[in-house]
């Protein structure tokens, strides 16, 4: 698990080992040598956790990770070429709740060092070129506002095959983790659902491949648009995936929710996802799907 398989394609840079990648990741993780796993409550040595892709070595609980770390885990080392970084969130509605949206944006940007809740770009996955889009849960719960919707749409459009131009396109991989639509952009964030889904219709018409990877948590307007539209839908183990949040459902039906409700394994049983894939196998799985699709 700690080494990438070597990639045979000549156009990919030479792969690095995980140990070479690790220092960059470690810098982004806050202090504290030990932490408690929220699932098994055992104390975990942070270095062991990181070396294990942030999966608890005791109970295989998948810790939530940001987009930067996700890219490092999925892309072949140093192959990720980030795109669309010139897009910045605006405050079209002058939204104000207890704080203004503008204040919230600045605070989140300072906290995460990111412009918005997404990173997208071209990369290689085990030597196969792909368009990789990762939502970032650390930024406003990974919510989808105009920037997230626009970035996803541009990434899909840039990867859509175009026969007339002799462009074969790229496989699109979107890793979702999001609380849903971004309330502070109200109706405009709702429209991102239609925009991204329409772009996927075009990708589909052109014969492109879209693999949707669902991670903890994927809910609301993100699930109800691009995230559930994958040609293949993969989910990380025990991820919360649903349309409505469990609290809302509980208030509606006024009874206890069954154990494991809205978790990946529940969705697998309900026929809503193709496979539950542990984080350590995700690269292999993605590479395999790209090969099978011939894209």
């Amino acid at each position: 698990m700690t080494k990438t398989a070597s990639s045979p394609r000549s156009n990919a840079p030479a792969p690095r080992t995980w140990s070479e990648v690790r220092p960059a990741r470690r810098a982004s993780i806050p202090e504290g040598l030990w932490l408690r796993c929220p699932s098994c409550a055992k104390m975990v040595y942070r270095r062991h956790l990181e070396a294990n892709l942030n999966v608890c070595p005791e109970c295989t609980h998948h810790f939530r990770i940001g987009a930067t770390e996700r890219v490092l885990q999925l892309a072949d080392p140093e192959t990720f070429q980030e795109m669309f970084t010139n897009l910045q969130p605006a405050d079209p509605l002058k939204f104000k709740d207890l704080k203004t949206y503008r204040e919230r944006l600045v605070a989140e940007q300072v906290k995460t060092g990111q412009i918005d809740a997404i990173r997208a770009g071209k990369c290689f996955i085990k030597g196969r070129e792909a368009m990789l889009v990762c939502l970032d849960l650390t930024f406003m719960m990974g919510s989808m506002g105009s920037v997230v919707g626009e970035t996803i749409t541009r990434a899909i459009e840039a990867a859509t095959p175009n026969k007339a131009k002799g462009y074969a396109g790229l496989p699109v991989i979107i890793v979702s983790c999001s609380g849903g639509a971004r309330m502070q952009e109200a109706g405009l964030s709702l429209m991102q659902m239609a925009k991204t889904s329409a772009a996927l219709a075009r990708l589909d018409d052109a014969g492109g491949l879209f693999v949707s990877v669902l991670t903890d948590p994927t809910t609301g307007g993100v699930t109800a648009s691009f995230a559930m539209l994958g040609d293949v839908i993969l989910a990380e183990p025990r991820a919360l995936i649903g349309f409505a949040g469990p609290r809302v459902i509980q208030q509606t039906i006024r009874q206890e929710l069954p154990e494991g409700f809205q978790r990946s394994e529940f969705l697998l049983k309900a026929g809503l996802v193709d496979r539950v894939v542990p984080r350590a196998n995700m690269r292999t799985e993605l590479a395999r799907l790209i090969d099978y699709s011939g894209r």
Binding site: S197, D205, A224, M228, I249
Partner: protein, 334 residues
């Protein structure tokens, strides 16, 4: 009039209605007696001036509705629903049930009908009027089978070359156990994708509540309009208040409704809808027929305009319509 459910901001009207009722009942009593003819005459003129005053007050109240008050009007129990509009503005409605997979969701009504000179496929949310109907319809919150039924009928319309009319009126898609288990999110997502590439004209009108994905799930259209007092946004004001203000009460709901920019005028300004269709004075519930007429006028006019486009142009223009949505800052790439 007196049987109307009263909204709190309509209170001044109630007192006037009371006065008008009193005078009119006196007129009825005194009219047969010729000796009281002059008294009746003055009562009549009194009633007339009160009615004028009332109309002025009504138009005043409704021209100054706050966002939260608009939401309350959009939820008025007597507000016309999809089945009322079917009754009022269509002919020869051939209802079609079921998604052929799981069941039939009464919260989404589908069928072919005629509006003016045009044959259309109509799809609309139904909230229900009587308690039993409301419960069966889950108060207009559709299940996945509802969205799948809607798509199946819309694809049938595509096959026959029938334009599609959708009437949106839902607080949101149903949040429940069965709905999740049967793929509520997937059902809505597939509708968004498939509606974007249907090769027939689609028009959508938010007739009451346009609550989030549950509304959008039948509203990916070439032209989207709202009735004057409808609302359309990503979440209900109560939902938004509960999350961002930590509690939903009259005050936070009012603030959330305002922040969400959910009124017809706001949505028009944001470019989310293309037109606002005027309602009868004092809301659609005060004159359903007149509202149905302006609704059907808009539908006929819009469909006749869309009919001129080829299917390719239609689908491309629909893509571009949603492609433009969103506002952000963009720096020139370095």
């Amino acid at each position: 009039m007196a049987t109307y459910y009263q909204l709190d901001f309509e209170k001044p009207l109630v007192q006037l209605d009371q006065k008008i009722d009193d005078i009119e009942s006196r007129i009825r009593v005194e009219e047969p007696d010729p000796a009281l003819a002059t008294g009746v005459e003055s009562l009549r003129s009194q009633a007339q001036s009160l009615k004028t005053e009332r109309a002025g007050m009504l138009s005043d109240i409704y021209s100054k509705l706050t966002a939260w008050q608009t939401v309350r009007v959009a939820r008025h129990p007597l507000r016309p629903q999809t089945r009322d509009y079917i009754e009022l503005m269509t002919r020869d409605f051939a209802e079609m049930h079921g998604d052929r997979r799981f069941g039939d969701d009464p919260a989404l009504v589908t069928g072919m009908c005629r509006i003016g000179p045009i044959k259309v496929m109509l799809v609309g949310h139904q909230k229900g009027r009587e308690t039993s109907e409301k419960i069966a319809c889950h108060f207009g919150c559709a299940h996945p089978e509802g969205y799948r039924k809607a798509l199946l009928k819309m694809q049938l319309a595509e096959k026959f070359g029938l334009p599609i009319v959708t009437l949106v009126d839902t607080p949101g898609a149903y949040p429940g156990l069965g709905a999740e288990q049967r793929g509520q999110a997937e059902a809505i997502a597939v509708n968004l994708r498939e509606m974007s590439r249907l090769r027939v004209p689609i028009v959508s009108i938010v007739i009451g509540e346009g609550g989030s994905g549950g509304a959008l799930g039948i509203a990916v259209a070439d032209r989207v309009a709202m009735l004057q007092h409808a609302w359309y946004s990503v979440i209900s004001p109560e939902g938004c208040a509960a999350i961002l203000w930590k509690e939903a009460n009259e005050q936070t709901n009012t603030a959330a409704a305002k922040s969400l920019k959910l009124t017809a005028a706001d949505n028009l300004e944001l470019g989310i809808v293309d037109d606002v269709i005027p309602e009868a004075l004092g809301g659609a519930h005060r004159d359903p027929k007149a509202t149905a007429n302006s609704l059907s006028d808009w539908i006929v006019r819009t469909l006749q305009e869309l009919k001129k486009q080829s299917p390719e142009d239609l689908v491309n223009a629909r893509y571009e319509r949603f492609r433009r949505m969103g506002q952000f800052l963009e720096q020139a790439p370095a």
